[in-house]
């Protein structure tokens, strides 16, 4: 886990960009988060200081450098809608950096990593790709539903130039899912780092049943506090309920009880 403890910060929007239909990118000025966040970590963001919407929204850190971190998200409800309306100079409340990311682990980072993102699950992998560096990326694959996601796809290609894009309807990249971009078997010493809908991650775990400890997945649970207090984000694992916000969001696929996890 990163050394910096989670706190609440008032932060300023340094830049906002609409990525087309329902996807937005925010650059946020907040040294406390940007300087210590690692790939796979997230923040809880609130658009206003009043009580409604009440809870912060968990969003993965997409990039962080020079005191600024970026968020990329789909507008799916009120919270993300308010965030997408933010403009340069507006303020936000940010709790973070939160959770254990891809690099917060016992043992060394593997020599070769395949990255697989489903929908906005690709966001933390963009950050991971940057920190891994070109030489350690064995492959990067992403899947989106298709129509309506063009803006997000363009951002992804810009942020992760080698990404192998797939879409359900075949309108962007190849027809298929992120998993179609993965090798049939996992080469020795390599890992897969993945983030996306539960259904995708469950299918991934099922496809490599003997490599559970070499597949690391970032899970999107419902969260209220983000710091391990409310037990709202429980993930069923072989060692009992773990908290997605503090024990995760990155887990080894082999420890998650996939049949008990809600879609």
């Amino acid at each position: 886990m990163s050394g910096e403890a989670a706190r609440d910060h008032e932060a300023r929007v340094a830049g906002a960009r609409v990525l087309g239909d329902g996807t937005a990118l925010l650059a946020v000025e907040c040294g406390a988060v940007a300087d210590s966040a690692t790939p796979g970590q997230f923040v809880m963001v609130r658009a206003g200081s009043c009580g409604d919407p009440f809870l912060g929204r968990p969003l993965a850190v997409a990039e962080a450098s020079g005191g600024i971190f970026k968020l990329a998200f789909r507008v799916v409800g009120r919270g993300t809608e308010l965030l997408a309306a933010k403009r340069q100079g507006d303020t936000l409340t940010v709790r973070g950096p939160l959770g254990r990311g891809f690099f917060d682990r016992a043992g060394d980072t593997p020599a070769r990593v395949f990255l697989a993102g489903g929908g906005v699950g690709a966001v933390p992998l963009v950050f991971a790709a940057r920190r891994l560096g070109f030489a350690r990326i064995a492959g990067a694959t992403a899947g989106i539903s298709g129509a309506g996601w063009e803006g997000f796809a363009d951002w992804l290609k810009e942020a992760m130039p080698k990404v192998d894009l797939h879409s359900d309807d075949g309108s962007v990249g190849k027809a298929g899912t992120a998993l179609d971009g993965l090798p049939r078997s996992l080469p020795p010493g390599a890992e897969i780092w993945a983030c996306g809908p539960v259904g995708m991650l469950r299918a991934l775990a099922a496809r490599f049943p003997n490599d559970g400890d070499r597949i690391r997945v970032s899970l999107e649970s419902r969260m209220a506090c983000g710091v391990g207090g409310c037990l709202g984000c429980a993930v069923p694992t072989a060692s009992g309920n773990r908290r997605a916000c503090t024990d995760g969001p990155v887990f080894a696929a082999g420890e998650v009880l996939w049949d008990e996890l809600e879609d």
Binding site: D8, F54, G56, G228, G229, L231
Partner: protein, 306 residues
């Protein structure tokens, strides 16, 4: 700031440096969050609920946002008393302020065993008896609904626990004032008004309730006026201290609870949005009291009733 008032107060057997208490089930158990540096403005903390045996808690979604509030169906997940004593108490003792063990009212045998375990270890400042959780199948809340149940629960706990005993009431009780009186008559040192409010949410896309147990407990700013009313009612019915709990999210809410008769407040869901809220409430209260020439929290307690 020079214009600060001393906020210390003695409540239900505990000496608090501030009347702001962290409610049960919302604050991490991790050591980092129990270090004094994290607890500015906090007078005391309630632990997450603990029972004799481990409980896995509820399956499916556990939290759901509502207008100015949150529904939860965590279901008293805990690792059981033995693990609590071994792993959590050492952490709690580092807080540098009193804490209350939020004890689940289970069967008579279980509660007796749990309290015996707590009696056997040093430095457990107080127990908050939870007879009010709406999120479990074994009817924990049933104890709190009727005055007779409340009386029996407190009688059992009192006979095993000589230290400060607070009783956390349920706002679902139609006889709340009588239940509070029953707790007082059986020897409770304070009553907490109260736990979450029974509610539910519907997932209209999936055409089914959001929570697997259908019902869930509502808390956060949305319930503040309801909780304030219960504090007013109960304060009029008992002479032991009343602790206000429900929707407190700023120093004005805390001041209102105290004026209605509470001796202290517990803050829960509002911590989801601000980890430093206790300090802000304490600072706000103290500055305002100085301005109003109210010297001491006891001068504020019940001020609105006179």
């Amino acid at each position: 700031m020079s214009s600060k008032t001393d906020l210390s107060i003695e409540v239900g057997g505990l000496k608090l440096a501030s009347p702001v208490i962290i409610a049960s089930g919302v604050w991490p158990q991790d050591a980092e969050f129990w270090s004094p540096g994290r607890l500015e403005g906090v007078g005391a903390l309630c632990t997450k609920a603990v029972g004799l045996k481990p409980r896995a808690g509820n399956k499916g979604p556990r939290v759901h946002e509502t207008p100015c509030g949150v529904l939860n169906s965590v279901g008293l997940q805990n690792t059981g008393m033995a693990s609590f004593v071994k792993n959590y108490l050492p952490v709690a003792r580092c807080a540098g302020r009193p804490f209350l063990v939020n004890l689940i009212m289970e069967s008579e045998r279980e509660v007796r065993e749990s309290l015996a375990a707590l009696r056997d270890v040093p430095d457990v400042p107080a127990v908050e008896l939870n007879i009010s959780c709406p999120n479990v199948e074994d009817d924990n809340m049933e104890w709190g609904l009727r005055p007779e149940g409340t009386a029996l629960a407190v009688r059992i706990a009192r006979s095993e626990w000589g230290g400060p005993l607070w009783v956390k009431l349920t706002p679902q009780s139609p006889y709340l004032a009588a239940a509070a009186k029953a707790a007082e008559d059986e020897g409770a040192d304070a009553v907490v008004c109260g736990n979450t409010w029974l509610g539910m949410a519907m997932d209209i896309e999936r055409r089914r309730p959001v929570f697997q147990r259908i019902v869930a407990g509502l808390s956060g700013p949305a319930v503040f006026p309801l909780a304030l009313r219960t504090v007013w009612q109960v304060s009029g019915a008992v002479s032991i201290p009343v602790i206000g709990c429900g929707g407190v999210s700023c120093w004005r809410d805390a001041a209102a609870m105290l004026m209605a008769g509470a001796s202290a407040v517990e803050v829960g869901a509002a911590l989801f949005t601000d980890l430093e809220l206790p300090r802000k409430i304490a600072d706000g209260l103290s500055a305002w009291m100085a301005e109003q020439n109210i010297d001491g929290v006891s001068g504020l307690v019940g001020l609105g009733r006179r």
